[in-house]
Symmetry: C2
Subunit: 205 residues, 2 copies
DNA sequence: TAGATTGTTAATCGATTAACAATC
DNA sequence: TAGATTGTTAATCGATTAACAATC
């Protein structure tokens, strides 16, 4: 039975829907509609219904969606109804900010390990972690069964770090280095580069 | 004369093209083709040619594109052939990492001012900046004529900070707080939220 | 000249929106 | 019941790709 292929652009919107739902709960809302959610997010109601309907029927005619239930369903779809251990490579400004960030654990992710190649940093304490030598990436990550990693190294070494991570079994990489990575097609990469986002806006200034 | 409207998705790819070009120069390349650039970026050659042709004719049949010339043209299109001053609001882990980041200036941007509301931080030194009181946002930013800002505050105050920035004349906001902002339609917002990118990948794990 | 690669058009593909029957 | 809102289909819209004449 061939599994239905969901467009990547639809998958990409699910985390945005999911992020909004706990905020609505905080406001003591219990039920929402595609229209209300759409207005908050600047997305059309039709699109939200269409996206969600790819995965099942989560709403009730006349009433809308139970916020709690919808959030739980999206968590399951995205596999964040569990917690994924992550490795961070590069303990510079960004790497340590990420290591200290408290916001991941509610969202199905957690930093479990950090690496650097600088002898002055290796074996020191950073947040609640002892910095490991990047030379041990393959062994440590493989042993821990970690599949998700963030690269926060200088651009020059990002590609080789990526290859090391892949050989250790990593399947999802979030890259903070401002460079395009080449990885096998069964590995996913996402990029965070503030300058890219900013240049996208300066066009309109 | 109505100016041609360029799709936002095309504008969004220009910074990606631009980022790759100086790297090619470093490798002593002087000329490239849509095919070569496309292979590096995982984008089709036809799309790159189509995108660029929206803005002019930058290549030569049979030869390709002069890397130097193309980069300069894209910089002009994106208005990063100058340097934009930016304000950073929130001097936590992310805010200070951004304030210290050296990579903006080559790309047409520069942090010029940082703000926090914590009395323990106001007037202290952070990187090369003296932290200003968020209460002075409107006055300081307006006086400096700053149009670009980054929000790196807790989510709870991000919306009100955004409104303050807008009233000070800011037209482009990069938001690190994991929350959707509501702004007037002449103001652009881009979001950076690592958890969103990560959840987009855990779907496939 | 022969080979390569652009810029552009037309064809294809895919995503978004509008509309509405079903139904809570 | 009347009103509201879903899930889904068909229509529209927009983006990507293929193909090729032009030309360096």
């Amino acid at each position: 039975m061939p599994e239905k292929i969901i467009p990547d652009i639809v998958v990409g919107r699910l985390p945005i829907y999911l992020r909004a739902l706990p905020r609505m709960l905080e406001e003591k809302r219990r039920v929402t509609s595609s229209q209300e959610l759409g207005e908050r997010l600047g997305i059309s109601a039709a699109q939200i219904r269409k996206d969600l309907s790819q995965f099942g029927e989560f709403g009730k005619q006349g009433t809308g969606y139970s916020i709690d239930y919808l959030a739980e369903q999206i968590r399951q779809i995205l596999h964040v109804d569990r917690v994924w251990d992550m490795a961070v490579v590069g303990v510079g400004d960004i790497g340590s900010a990420v290591a200290r960030y408290q916001g991941f654990s509610h969202r199905g992710l957690r930093v479990a390990m950090i690496f650097d190649s600088d002898p002055a940093k290796i074996a020191t304490q950073e947040s609640s972690f002892t910095v490991k030598d990047t030379k041990t990436i393959k062994e440590s990550i493989h042993e821990a069964g970690i599949q998700v990693a963030m690269i926060a190294t200088p651009s020059q070494v990002a590609q080789e770090v990526a290859e090391e991570l892949v050989s250790a079994g990593v399947k999802a990489i979030l890259n903070y280095a401002p460079i395009n990575l080449t990885v096998p097609e069964n590995v996913r990469v996402q990029y965070i580069d503030p300058a890219i986002h900013l240049q996208r806006m300066t066009y309109y200034l």
